[in-house]
């Protein structure tokens, strides 16, 4: 992984309502290498989905605004592009798949046409070429008998097959980076394993880079190369998967890991983090995790810790990190 494929610098998403501004994602910076899978984890409302939608410039409301230094992808700075430029790039360089395939596939359009539409628009292919390409992509995502399935409508597919079809729609345009927003949350566990395996195969075969958004550390542990943990709109820890899972340094990362039900199955009581995430319009003045943190010092209440390089390939935003050798 030499020069990063995607370079995000200080990306923020700001909501404006009733003349008040609330920062939902605050100065997010990270790199994504060729063929790397980055897991973006955090609880609901931590801003992980919003950050990725900001990369695509697909924000769900006109009251949201993107700010930032730069987002470099394939020689473009996405923040400098106009809407037409962004439209050319969206899909072709940066694809996205969503949690709920049924609400992101057009129910009145045949699966094959939904895949072919992007291929025709981005690659200027003819209808016949695009259809042949669509059949090929369906085969690649593991749809059995793609020649006859290409003319099906989404309702004729099962849940797992719809997710495969949505991956096929994204892959049809041959993107360099695929953003997968909770791609398996709506699926059953046995089907989840199939879809995760498919994503790994696509990475190996096509060198696809991925950002995998998930609230499930188990999913992330089995698929990703690196992990970024978000809390209340900010990145709190980012590092290689093995190191972060074995020695989390941010108390929140450590807490999330300890909460996973598969941890210490011999103990009856489950771990949890006391309290709940702060409201983004009433943030504590210091560290956002401080009210729930067992390690907090007076300094934590006063000063927001900045994300800094804390070791090779590891970044952290905490005044009282856990020791690298294990939990304190």
């Amino acid at each position: 992984m030499s020069t990063p494929l995607l370079q995000v610098r200080e990306l923020s998403v700001i909501a404006r309502n009733d003349r008040r501004e609330v920062t939902l994602v605050e100065r997010l910076s990270f790199d994504l290498g060729q063929g790397e899978i980055l897991g973006l984890v955090g609880e609901s409302g931590s801003g992980k989905t919003l950050a990725c939608r900001a990369l695509m410039r697909l924000l769900p409301s006109p009251n949201l605004r993107i700010e930032g230094k730069s987002v470099h992808l394939a020689g473009h700075d996405l923040l400098q592009l106009d809407e037409a430029g962004m439209r050319r790039l969206r899909g072709r360089e940066l694809g996205m798949i969503f949690q709920n395939p049924s609400s992101h596939l057009d129910p009145l359009m045949r699966i094959g046409e939904q895949i072919a539409e992007g291929i025709r628009l981005h690659q200027g292919a003819s209808r016949r070429e695009a259809r042949a390409e669509a059949i090929d992509v369906l085969r690649q995502v593991g749809i059995p008998d793609p020649k006859s399935r290409v003319d099906n409508y989404p309702h004729e597919f099962s849940g797992g097959m719809r997710q495969r079809a949505m991956i096929a729609v994204a892959l049809g345009c041959n993107p360099k980076v695929l953003i997968a927003d909770e791609p398996t949350t709506a699926l059953d566990v046995t089907v989840q394993a199939q879809i995760l395996r498919l994503l790994l195969e696509l990475r190996d075969r096509r060198g696809l880079s991925m950002i995998l958004i998930s609230h499930d550390l188990g999913v992330v542990a089995q698929t990703c190369d690196s992990i970024a943990v978000m809390y209340a709109g900010r990145l709190c820890e980012h590092g290689g998967k093995h190191e972060l899972l074995a020695h989390p340094r941010h108390p929140y990362s450590a807490g999330l890991l300890a909460c996973h039900p598969a941890q210490q199955p011999q103990a009856r009581l489950m771990n949890s983090i006391a309290g709940q995430p702060p409201l983004l319009d009433a943030l504590p003045s210091g560290c956002r995790f401080e009210p729930r943190c067992a390690q907090a010092l007076p300094l934590c209440r006063e000063q927001l810790p900045e994300l800094h390089e804390s070791g090779p390939g590891h970044r952290l935003a905490c005044h009282t990190p856990l020791l690298a050798g294990g939990p304190s």
Binding site: D188, T190, V191, L217, L269
Partner: protein, 324 residues
């Protein structure tokens, strides 16, 4: 231990329009297809399975919230499927349910205090003048401040709403609680709080708990026994530790293998279970799991699998011992 709940060969069928010309010929869905289980007083049984396998339908049928097509539900030895009014009234007084979506399960226009008081009034659990005190007690029991009685569900967090749902279930002092995916909608850091609350309440009140979930990790933590359901049938049942350590049914083995563990050394299964559960409208012949099973024999598609019982464990498969 005394048996509190016994379900014998329960069938639940729904008919849907859709077949034939103009959809006039009704289709029959076998949502629950011969399920049997037992639950002792004070015990926790985890009911796991994929979506659409009939676990919620089974739970609702147990609480007489769904019509039953055939079979028995014995609560305290009395068959509830007969539907006698006195029996059902007793069932309502002694069982309660906790739902998946805590916001949808509470009336958004009622205050938390009213939500709890209504149950107390209807079931005449305490005299009217004692109701406010009992409401405060219930809130405290689930770890909420008594002032929250004045609030409406919209101003509470998901975890707090789920606690209110639990308080409402506890209000009738039930002997059996059915919890249907009651932590699925909560964040992981909050899930632990709710599970621990259920564990503590079970110890304190001797509650029997039927815990429906798709999350096997939670089952291992919370439950004494586990029943695995596939397409309306219970394919395996037994003590949690034994089933997790050595599953007897190939489907249970595949489910356990698919648990997303946070150990990075554990890779995704090389050959994840292929396919998806078929529609309950068109059940496969013979064993329901046979089209996806790696260990299926030719006879599996012809006859229903035999049932085996070994000690506290039961499973339904052609193989009396796991073939792997």
């Amino acid at each position: 231990m005394t048996t509190l709940l016994q379900v014998n060969d329960l069938h639940v069928q729904f008919s849907t329009a859709g077949g034939g010309l103009f959809g006039l010929r009704p289709h029959t869905i076998n949502a629950v297809n011969g399920a049997s289980l037992t639950l002792a007083a004070g015990q926790t049984l985890g009911l796991v399975g994929e979506s659409g396998c009939g676990k919620s339908t089974l739970a609702r049928a147990i609480l007489h919230l769904n019509p039953v097509s055939a079979g028995q539900v014995l609560f305290d030895g009395i068959d509830m499927t007969q539907g006698r009014k006195v029996d059902i009234a007793r069932l309502r007084r002694e069982t309660a349910m906790i739902f998946q979506d805590p916001y949808a399960a509470l009336n958004p226009r009622q205050r938390i205090g009213q939500i709890l008081a209504e149950v107390l009034q209807v079931q005449r659990k305490v005299p009217t003048e004692r109701i406010p005190a009992r409401v405060a007690e219930l809130l405290e029991l689930v770890g909420l401040r008594a002032e929250l009685a004045e609030r409406k569900p919209g101003s509470l967090s998901g975890g707090q709403c789920q606690r209110v749902g639990i308080a409402r279930a506890l209000a009738i002092e039930p002997r059996l609680i059915v919890a249907d995916e009651c932590v699925a909608a909560l964040d992981v850091s909050i899930q632990g709080q709710i599970i621990n609350l259920l564990l503590a309440l079970r110890e304190r009140m001797g509650l029997a708990l039927l815990f429906i979930t798709h999350d096997l990790g939670v089952v291992r933590r919370l439950c004494d026994r586990v029943a695995v359901m596939y397409l309306g049938q219970i394919v395996e049942e037994g003590p949690v530790d034994e089933v997790f350590d050595a599953p007897h049914h190939p489907y249970t083995a595949a489910l356990i293998q698919s648990i997303a563990d946070i150990d990075p050394a554990r890779r995704l299964p090389e050959r994840p279970l292929a396919g998806e559960p078929p529609s309950p409208l068109q059940l496969p012949s013979g064993c329901a799991f046979q089209p996806r099973c790696l260990h299926a024999l030719p006879t599996c598609s012809e006859t229903a699998p035999p049932r085996h019982a070994q000690g506290a464990r039961r499973h339904a498969c052609i193989h009396p011992r796991p073939p792997y």
